[in-house]
Every structure is written in structure tokens, then in C-alpha cells.
């Protein structure tokens, strides 16, 4: 079932794409989205490769991913809270090192 590997590769792609965005995008909301995309990539890889055990799919990675999704939403809520706190004190919702002088 080569489609499983295709999904796993898409997972890898999402992970690295998210990593790139996390590094280069200045706005914190974009960084938070990037981390969520990276997480989805890892989850996709985990679950897709669990499908290699035919006829019964391996559910252990699925359970892990459900755990991971809950952790991700908790972390996202925390990150958004921090972001809003930060943008109250300095406009732009960016980390100091990403703040450009010209804008």
C-alpha cells in the first residue's frame, strides 16, 4: 500500500515546510500556525505508517496522535495568550529580534 508512504512523505513535507515558516516568518501568529502545521505533519507520518500492519491497522500511533492533538491545542492556547500579552506591551506581535526598524 504505497499510498501510506505518500501520506508519510506529505507529513515530512509539512514538518519541514512548517520549520521553514517558523524560522523565516516574523509574526508570532504565523509562527504558531507553523508549529501547528509541523505537528500535523508528524501526526500524519505517525498514523500513516501505522497502516502498514494489514489487515488490522496499528492503533497505538493513533492513540499517541490523539494525545498529541490535545497537547497541541493546549500549547496553542498558551501561545496565543502569550502573543496577546506581548502585543499589549509592544505592537506588532513579533519577537524583538524580528522587529524591523523600517516598518
Amino acid at each position: 500500500m504505497s499510498m501510506l508512504f505518500f501520506y508519510a512523505l506529505i507529513g515530512v513535507g509539512l514538518f519541514t515546510l512548517g520549520l521553514l515558516a517558523l524560522v523565516v516568518q516574523p509574526h508570532l501568529l504565523q509562527k504558531i500556525l507553523a508549529l501547528n502545521v509541523m505537528g500535523s505533519g508528524v501526526f500524519l507520518l505517525l498514523v500513516a505508517l501505522g497502516g502498514r500492519s494489514q489487515p488490522v491497522v496499528d492503533v497505538v500511533p493513533q492513540a499517541m496522535v490523539i494525545t498529541g492533538i490535545v497537547v497541541a491545542v493546549s500549547a496553542t492556547a498558551m501561545a496565543l495568550t502569550l502573543m496577546l500579552n506581548l502585543s499589549r506591551s509592544s505592537p506588532g506581535a513579533q519577537l524583538p529580534e524580528d522587529q524591523s526598524a523600517d516598518s
Binding site: S2, L4, F5, Y7, L9, I10, V12, L14, F15, T16, L17, G18, L19, L20, A21, V23, V24, Q25, P26, L29, L33, N36, V37, S40, L44, L45, L49, R52, S53, V56, V57, V59, V60, Q62, A63, M64, V65, I66, T67, I69, V70, V73, S74, A75, T76, A77, M78, L80, T81, L82, L84, N85, S87, R88, P91, G92, Q94, D98, S100, S103
Partner: protein, 324 residues
């Protein structure tokens, strides 16, 4: 049957590339609002992907949390951000471009491409067939107390992970409250149509939550999905402008937040004393224990997600700390 396989492959290819393309457009566009809408769409497609990967439990979790609640969280946070940041008020905010030097950008890109290649190579080197733990799960399923394998893993085989996970949820609300202060989400004006909508939706949401909780023992569903639906019901009520409850004062809310983790710890202690191992259920009682844990976990997860939604929106308290 051959043709079906072919069309399914076409569907999978289309879906996979769309996911990647969506992520790309979401992460590299200059309009935050567009990014958020794309993120919600991304969640929809992820849920369809989980279905294709025979992971309906994950699809349920993604549909409620990934696409639903995270979307609402992002949407609300963006709204708040706009009130704080004048540059975003003008409808079409133009974000600053990446400030990286062009050369640095290309280095980052090159690194990303190399990393992608390396990881892809590693993934493709995996054996095309691997049993994983499916045999172990299936052979012990009978003594787990439930017939749905995902629930068996989450609540029994790897119940200790779930215990710690409940601690993560408790931490998240403790964290949001300590960072942002607590407040009550009370919006004054309501809209009649919205009210009708919510009056009709909320009972269905609560029913579906209960249904998913119950069905989790033998079919996709369970505490996380049921809890997040419950949380979504609460979020809808808050959004409709109902003064739902006084989060700061209510002891009851704290109790609901703690109920899930407390049940896990109480049961872990009980089983440690009685059975000698934490969260080792006697086979005869396993089903009841799991149902108890799931019910309380559902309450806690729902309350936590709602409180996270409300809490992350509120003003930070830094100095005032007015305590009674």
C-alpha cells in the same frame, strides 16, 4: 475493484498535494486572516485524510479540536490582536516581509530542502509491512474492558500517558489563567438569529457528546472527542453572549477542571494499593473503571477547552492582583 483502487489513489494524491499546497499558502501569505481561514480548511482536509488512513478516532479529534476549537481560538485571538494593533485595523493588513537577509533566506531554504530529502529517504527505507503493536493490542483486547482498540490503548494499556496528559490540560488552564488573569466572558448584545441557532445546536451538541462518550467503548469516540464537543458547546454559548458562569469565583468550575486528573490519580493510587500496579484494573471491573475515568475526563476536557477559549481572550493582570 481495480478501478476503485485507482480512483482512491487519485483521491489520495489530490488530498495529499492539497494539504501541502494549503499549508504553503497558509504559512507564506501576507494576510493573517487569510492564513487563519486557510488553517481551518487545512483542518477539514486533515480530518478527511485521517478517514482515508482508517483513523476515525483521530478524524473525530481533528474535526472537533483541530478544525473547530483551534479555529475559534485563532479567530478570537486575531480579533483581539486587531484591537491591539493599529496596523491590522485596516482590513487588509500587510505583514512585514521576512526580515532575513536574502542570503540567509536561501540558506534556510537549502537546509529545509536537505532536511526534507534526508527525512524522506529515511521514511522510504522503512519496511513496507510492519505489524507494529497491532497483534499485541488485539490479543489483549479481551481483557481490557472495552472492545474498541483505541480506547483500550488510551485508557488501559497506556493509561499512564493519559494520566500525564490530563496533567497537561490542567497545566494549560493554570498557565493561561496565570498569564492572562481570569475573567468572565460576558458580551452584552445578542442577536436573535444567533440565539435560535444556539438554542437548537447546544442540546444536540451535548447529546452528541454523551453519545460519543458512550460509543467510545466499542466504536470510534471517547473522552477526548466527547470532551471537545462539550467544550465547543460552551464556546458557542459564550460566543452568543451568555454570561455563562463566573469563572473567577466559581469553585465548581475549578472542581470540574480537576475532576478528570483527580479521577485518574485516585484510581492510580487505589490500584497501586489494591493491585500493586498503578492503573492496573481487575478485569471484571475494567469496563466500569474506564467508563468512570472517561466520564470525568470528558467533563474536565470540555471545561478546560472552554476555559482556555475564554481565558486566552482576556486582559492580562500584572500588578493589580486584587484578591479577597
Amino acid at each position: 475493484m481495480e478501478a476503485v483502487g485507482l480512483w482512491q489513489s487519485a483521491f489520495d494524491l489530490m488530498l495529499g498535494f492539497s494539504l501541502f499546497g494549503l499549508a504553503w499558502r497558509m504559512l507564506f501569505c501576507a494576510d493573517l486572516f487569510k492564513s487563519i481561514v486557510l488553517f481551518i480548511t487545512f483542518g477539514l482536509l486533515m480530518a478527511i485524510a485521517w478517514v482515508r488512513l482508517e483513523a476515525p478516532d483521530v478524524a473525530l479529534a481533528e474535526a472537533t479540536i483541530g478544525a473547530g476549537l483551534t479555529g475559534a481560538l485563532l479567530m478570537s485571538a486575531f480579533a483581539k490582536l486587531r484591537t491591539l494593533d493599529n496596523s491590522l485595523k485596516s482590513g487588509q493588513p500587510l505583514l512585514p516581509r521576512p526580515r532575513l537577509h536574502v542570503i540567509n533566506f536561501w540558506i534556510a531554504l537549502l537546509f529545509t530542502v536537505l532536511l526534507t530529502g534526508g527525512l524522506a529517504y529515511a521514511v522510504l527505507s522503512l519496511p513496507s509491512h510492519s505489524p507494529g503493536l497491532s497483534d499485541a493490542v488485539m490479543s489483549q483486547l479481551d481483557s481490557s474492558g472495552v472492545t474498541h482498540p483505541v480506547t483500550a490503548v488510551l485508557l488501559n494499556f497506556r493509561g499512564y500517558d493519559t494520566l500525564l496528559e490530563m496533567a497537561v490540560l490542567l497545566l494549560s488552564i493554570q498557565s493561561v489563567w496565570s498569564m492572562a488573569g481570569m475573567s468572565d466572558a460576558g458580551e452584552v448584545h445578542t442577536s436573535p438569529v444567533l440565539n435560535v441557532l444556539i438554542q437548537l445546536l447546544s442540546p444536540v451538541l451535548i447529546l452528541v457528546s454523551a453519545y460519543l462518550l458512550w460509543v467510545g467503548a466499542h466504536a470510534p469516540g471517547g473522552a477526548f472527542q466527547a470532551g471537545s464537543i462539550l467544550g465547543a458547546a460552551g464556546v458557542l454559548l459564550v460566543l452568543s453572549g451568555r454570561p455563562l458562569f463566573n469563572l473567577k469565583k466559581s469553585w465548581l468550575i475549578r472542581l470540574m477542571l480537576v475532576a478528570g486528573p483527580a479521577a485518574f490519580i485516585a484510581l492510580a493510587t487505589l490500584t497501586l494499593i489494591n493491585e500493586g500496579q498503578l492503573l492496573k484494573y481487575p478485569v471484571a471491573n475494567a469496563a466500569n473503571y474506564i467508563l468512570l475515568l472517561e466520564t470525568l475526563a470528558t467533563v474536565s476536557i470540555g471545561t478546560t477547552l472552554l476555559a482556555l477559549f475564554v481565558g486566552s481572550q482576556t486582559e492580562a493582570v500584572q500588578q493589580d492582583q486584587s484578591h479577597q
